[in-house]
């Protein structure tokens, strides 16, 4: 099931009902919107992007860097054209007599969730979620946001692989930043694996190759 590469403006279908993500409709015809892989089925046509910026959507878990501290919250760089805002009330560490400055400083890294996006693309974040936390240790690996689904794998298979094989903690932000924590040498393996996934995301049989890679590197680690 090799997926062909399509370029912007390529005609994909002449039935506007099948238009999916990554396509646009003009005069009843469906065209590709950006460079990507074509995923065509009977009922839908979509283009999986090969590159591109992260555009926030509600419910996404993102990793961000605090860029500004204000009296009522934090402005957070979420590796996207739009900055996120984390109101003070949305941080569970906030206590009535504490100021935002006491809890998060400029440069701190947080894992947050997108709660709201208004029509002007003002992004509101929250940290009131099981996954969310301020990152005080571990490693952040940046990748192309378009490759995030491959790093997660089908039904989280890649993440499961890293967790069970190497016993590291890993959280993948939808915005292309990945937090890994655990034994330093094992984290190194995960980082290498992630870079392989990033560069080969549009090829087939990736999961098997990564599984093999991780097992081999783990064997080397134990052998020494």
């Amino acid at each position: 099931m090799t997926r062909p590469i399509v370029l912007p403006g390529e005609l994909l279908a002449s039935n506007p009902k099948v238009a999916g993500a990554g396509t646009y409709v003009d005069k009843g015809k469906v065209y590709a919107k950006f460079l990507g892989l074509l995923d065509k089925s009977e009922t839908s046509v979509r283009v999986i992007p090969l590159k591109g910026r992260y555009i926030p959507s509600v419910g996404d878990v993102v990793i961000g860097i605090v860029r500004e501290v204000t009296s009522n919250g934090w402005a957070v760089d979420i590796n996207s054209p739009y900055q996120g805002f984390l109101p003070a009330a949305e941080n569970p560490e906030m206590r009535p007599n504490r100021k935002p400055n006491d809890i998060l400083e400029i440069g701190d890294i947080i894992i947050a969730k997108v709660t709201n996006i208004d029509p002007k693309m003002k992004v509101t974040l929250t940290m009131k979620d099981r996954m969310c936390r301020a990152v005080r240790f571990g490693r952040i690996v940046p990748i192309n946001p378009a490759r995030v689904p491959r790093v997660i794998g089908k039904g989280g298979s890649m993440i499961k692989l890293f967790k069970t094989e190497l016993g590291v903690q890993i959280i993948v932000g939808k915005n292309g930043l990945i937090w890994i924590s655990g034994d330093r040498r094992k984290v190194n393996i995960v980082e290498e694996a992630i870079y392989i996934i990033e560069s080969e995301a549009h090829t087939e049989g990736l999961t098997d190759r990564i599984t093999e890679f991780v097992k081999r590197r783990k064997g080397e680690l134990n052998g020494q």
């Binding site: 590469i5 370029l7 912007p8 403006g9 390529e10 005609l11 646009y24 003009d26 065209y31 919107k33 950006f34 460079l35 990507g36 992007p49 090969l50 590159k51 591109g52 910026r53 555009i55 054209p81 739009y82 900055q83 029509p119 002007k120 693309m121 378009a146 560069s199 080969e200 549009h202 090829t203 190759r209």
Partner: protein, 256 residues
């Protein structure tokens, strides 16, 4: 060679010899084109393009935050296009920085690019396109537009289609496609075109400028020539972009 230079100064250099152009091309032949995608590491999308002796690099950044902030548009992205010539790109050293000519070219090229970029998808953001001419040999604005279009695709920017651009000149009363420096300098007219091409079909004209004079019939003929040339360029642009990803997957297969 002094006599040749004098000839040029007096303006009676012969540009068409025995039905061929000075570089041996036919009237409707393009210069050799070489396109390389993704040459700059830090840019979101980039492209190096050679069109004859023209050498240009394009870099695309964005969509990203706009600075200064007041330039941001609350309903759509702002597109910024900077055409710039390196001081060493022409025979006599050019003063660096924007001049009247490059500001004008930047403006018309930006408008051409805006015809295909889906700005409405990214309110309050900016898409920056930088093109630098490293070596100039007539038709740099068309070369730059071709490079910018490829770089935009490489950056994953949503677009309605591609921009392909080529010029037609009139020299010695004959229309020629993709003029080189001599034809541009000593010709009678120069008409750069840029087309919005979608699905192997020309949808509209995104840029059209002209200096010199041509008759109405000549103009119609020039348009047809440019359309044919642009389609050839379009195919090369497409191949160049696809080639980038093809090579990667071949390497993967050889690993197995």
């Amino acid at each position: 060679m002094v006599s040749e230079d004098l000839n040029r100064l007096s303006g009676d250099i012969q540009l068409i010899v025995d039905g061929k152009r000075l570089d041996g091309r036919g009237f409707d032949e393009l210069r050799p084109i070489n396109i390389k995608v993704g040459v700059l590491k830090r840019a979101d999308g980039s492209c190096y393009l050679e069109m004859g002796k023209n050498k240009v690099v394009a870099a695309v950044y964005g969509p990203r935050e706009v600075h200064p902030r007041h330039l941001a548009d609350p309903v759509k992205a702002v597109v910024r296009y900077r055409y710039s010539m390196a001081p060493f790109s022409v025979e006599e050293r050019k003063r660096p920085g924007p001049d009247r000519r490059s500001i004008e070219i930047s403006k018309v090229s930006r408008e051409a690019i805006e015809a295909v970029v889906m700005k409405e998808l990214f309110p309050r953001s900016g898409i920056d396109v930088f093109v630098e001419v490293l070596q100039a040999d007539a038709g740099t604005r068309t070369a730059c537009l071709n490079a910018a279009s490829v770089a935009l695709v490489d950056a994953g920017v949503p677009m309605r289609g591609l921009i392909s651009s080529v010029a037609v000149a009139k020299v010695d009363d004959i229309l020629v496609l993709d003029p080189m420096k001599e034809e541009d300098n000593y010709g009678q007219a120069d008409i750069p075109f840029a087309f919005f091409i979608r699905n192997d079909k020309i949808e509209s004209i995104a840029l059209l400028q002209m200096d010199g004079r041509v008759s109405r019939d000549e103009f119609k003929q020039a348009l047809e020539m440019a359309k044919k040339g642009a389609m050839e360029i379009y195919q090369m642009q497409k191949e160049a972009i696809k080639a980038k990803y093809m090579i990667e997957s071949e390497e993967v297969n050889s690993d197995e």
